[in-house]
Amino acid sequence: MDHYKNPRNRGRFEDSESVTIDLNNPTCGDKISLQMKVRDGKVQDAKFIGEGCSISLSSASMMTDAIKGKTLDEALNMAESFSSLMKGEHPEFEYEDIEALSGVSKFPARIKCATLAWNALRKGIEQAKEVK
């Protein structure tokens, strides 16, 4: 709830040294535009803008916070852990707030809200790896 009320990392980078991924969920209209600054295989910084429900925005807020300073592979592992969290499993996260979203796995219709930001992250990692 705090991440919904006060989303972290909301905004845009002024320069063009970042990877931008625009993703939307056509069934509900949620949108996210994620930007990542990747240097030496590490996520230096991340920001997002978007519109959507409490679950999608808080998930994006936590995700952008959690991946900062991580290598692309670490971030990808986190995305995998998040998928298993949505399947009702209990992976541990260094960034513990994320575990608050575990309850979403009980609402099949809402899992897509929580995973939107993470799917954007996966695409971003792919793009960043291609650039190298």
């Binding site: 209209g29 429900c53 409490s54 219709a109 809200c113």
Partner: protein, 105 residues
């Protein structure tokens, strides 16, 4: 139609609730939004309260753009619905506001 009129009347009593479309002589459904709460969040809380509605674009994105909203919530009625169901809907919407009120104010 009677049910829809009753629903509009009851729902109009809720602060921060917008009803879309004509206020009288509607078809058997009411499309609405609650201020600052995404319709999918409204639908999830209502579901937990035993009230089933639909939320989203309803396959008409141009209308959503025209209304200048990302999505809407929609309660629709059929032969088996009664005014009692609408009272339950109103109570559940108030609960939704209370639940999310902590987050948005």
């Amino acid at each position: 139609m009677q049910l829809a009129d009753y629903a509009v009347q009851r729902m109009s009593e809720i602060e921060g609730l917008t009803v879309y479309g004509p206020l009288k002589n509607r078809a058997g459904l009411v499309t609405f939004n609650v201020d600052d709460i995404h319709p999918h969040d409204v639908a999830t809380v209502l579901d937990a309260e035993g009230v089933a509605i639909r939320a989203g674009h309803h396959c008409c994105q141009p209308l959503m753009r025209w209304l200048n909203v990302t999505a809407t919530a929609r309660a629709s009625f059929y032969l088996y619905n009664t005014e009692d169901d609408i009272d339950k809907l109103v109570t559940a919407i108030l609960k939704t506001k209370e639940y999310f009120g902590h987050a948005i104010r």
